[in-house]
Amino acid sequence: MKPMYLPDVESSPQPCFQADTIRMLQAQGAEYPQILHLFAFRPEATAHLTRFTREVMRGDAPLSAGFRELIAAHTSAKNGCPF
């Protein structure tokens, strides 16, 4: 794993479930997506993003969860974001 641009973001996770996940994966010596560090750095902002994503991807709506994930995957591919 390469260092991110902002060392503070990487080194100061705040209490949240993403921080727990980071600690668990680090303890196993596993590689993990650094997006976890983004979510753990500023949970007072990113918790809203998590809730938004959950609602828009899994909330009650006519489009199936699978089709919504396809839209997200297609958009991410067009943006050149493999994760």
């Binding site: 641009y5 902002l6 503070d8 007072e44 902002a45 809203h48 809730r51 938004f52 609602e55 943006n79």
Partner: protein, 175 residues
């Protein structure tokens, strides 16, 4: 926003968390970043409402808001905000366009990791908000007075739990 309250609530809460500012990045600076990115995306509503909120935080200095939109490189802002706007512009071009040199430049002008983090998230979030607003062809007022009024209300009260009397659009004819 009223059609889908389940998604609107976290979007408003995100705006509130990102734009109210903190110790090293003021609410006015956050709103200027949001306004600038929205102008790059040619989003009429967002650049005008956030421009008005920025102007409210700047004691009514609408000229500065316009200067930032037209050419932030020559606007009368701090060198730190200038460097952060350059980072925001790169995020607008595409996340992978942000270089280590852009980050270093912002740091040299005194930006903290938190400032840079928030700048990137504000720029990315507004690319989403702008596309949401324009992707569904929302109509919006063209009257500058509307944005001045609304900018002052949101500037004072924030994005959440607006009082009922603060939400109602003033209608002088009815008074």
């Amino acid at each position: 926003m009223v059609y889908r309250p389940e998604t609107a609530k976290p979007l408003n809460e995100l705006a509130q968390a990102l734009l109210r500012g903190h110790d090293t990045l003021s609410a006015a600076e956050c709103e200027l970043i949001a306004t600038y990115v929205s102008s790059l995306n040619d989003c009429y509503y967002c650049q005008n409402i956030h421009g008005a909120i920025a102007a409210h935080h700047l004691k009514g200095n609408e000229k500065l808001v316009l200067d930032v939109k037209q050419n932030y490189e020559t606007a009368e802002i701090s060198d730190k905000l200038r460097a952060l706007l350059a980072v925001a512009r790169k995020v607008w071009l595409g996340g992978k366009q942000v270089t280590k040199a852009d980050i270093e430049k912002a740091r040299q002008q005194g930006a903290t990791d938190l400032d840079i983090h928030d700048t990137v998230l504000i720029a990315a979030a507004f690319c989403m908000y702008n596309r949401y607003v324009d992707g569904l062809a929302t109509w919006q007022p063209r009257d500058a007075e509307f944005y001045r009024w609304r900018g002052a209300v949101v500037g004072e009260e924030g994005y959440l739990n607006l009082r009922r009397e603060a939400i109602a659009i003033p209608n002088p004819a009815a008074e």
